[in-house]
Symmetry: C2
Subunit: 101 residues, 2 copies
DNA sequence: ACAACGATTAGACAATTAGCTAATTGTCAT
DNA sequence: ATGACAATTAGCTAATTGTCTAATCGTTGT
C-alpha cells in the first residue's frame, strides 16, 4: 500500500500510468515522451513494477509495459472507502432507524 | 497532488488520518498513539498540513488537528476518475450509439 | 561471428526524508 | 514571575531518492 502511494507521488510516474491507460507501450516509446534519460525512466518503471502497478511482457528487443488497473483500483478506492469516500449514496433510513444516530 | 500522495506514502501518516476521521484530536493525543518521538510526529503533522490534508486550531496549550476530507477526496477520487475508476456504471448505449465505439 | 539496437545495471552525486535528543516557544495556574 | 506543560524548532545522522554518464546484457539482422 505504501509502495503504491510512493509510486504515485512522482508526477513522471503518474503520467506514465496515464499513458498506459490508453494501452501497452514499449519502454523506449514511453521514455521518449519524457525529458529525462532512459536509465532514469527505467528506474521509474522499476518503482511502478515494485508497486505492482505495471507488468512487463518481453517482445524481441523490446519490453512492453502494461497497466494493472486492478492494483490501482484496490489502493485508491480501498483507502478512499475507509473514509466513506466514493461510496454509493447510502440507502435512506426509515424513521425507526433514525432514532439511533 | 504529488504532495498528497507523498503524504499518504507513509503508514504513520495514513494512520493519523484514520484516527482523525473519528474527529479532531490534539497533537500530543495523536502522538501518544505512535511509537515515535513527539518531534518526529510534529514533522509528520507538517507534511500532512503541507498537503492540505489537515488543518489546525489552537486551543490553549494544545493544538487540535482536523481532517480535511475534501482534499483527500479530490486527490483520491480525482485521480481514480482519470482512470474510469469508482464511477457509477455508465448508462447502457443504444444499438445506434454502439456503431461508433 | 559480429555489429546495431533496445533496455537495464553500475556507480556517482546532490537533495530529501524519517528518525533522534536537546533547546525553545507559548500558555496557563499559582 | 515562576513553574509546569504542550508543542515546535534546531541540529544531527543514516537511509532513500531522482538524476546523470558509462558500461553491460539480449536479441536481431547481416
Amino acid at each position: 500500500m505504501s509502495d503504491v502511494f510512493k509510486a504515485l507521488s512522482d508526477p513522471t510516474r503518474r503520467e506514465v500510468l496515464q499513458m498506459l491507460k490508453a494501452g501497452p507501450r514499449s519502454a523506449g516509446d514511453l521514455a521518449d515522451a519524457f525529458p529525462v534519460s532512459k536509465p532514469t525512466m527505467s528506474a521509474h518503471f522499476n518503482v511502478l513494477r515494485g508497486a505492482g502497478l505495471v507488468s512487463i511482457e518481453k517482445a524481441g528487443k523490446s519490453v512492453i509495459y502494461h497497466l494493472n488497473v486492478s492494483v490501482l483500483e484496490e489502493a485508491l478506492l480501498g483507502f478512499a472507502g475507509a473514509f466513506g469516500l466514493g461510496q454509493r449514496p447510502p440507502a435512506k433510513r426509515s424513521k425507526e432507524e433514525k432514532e439511533t444516530p
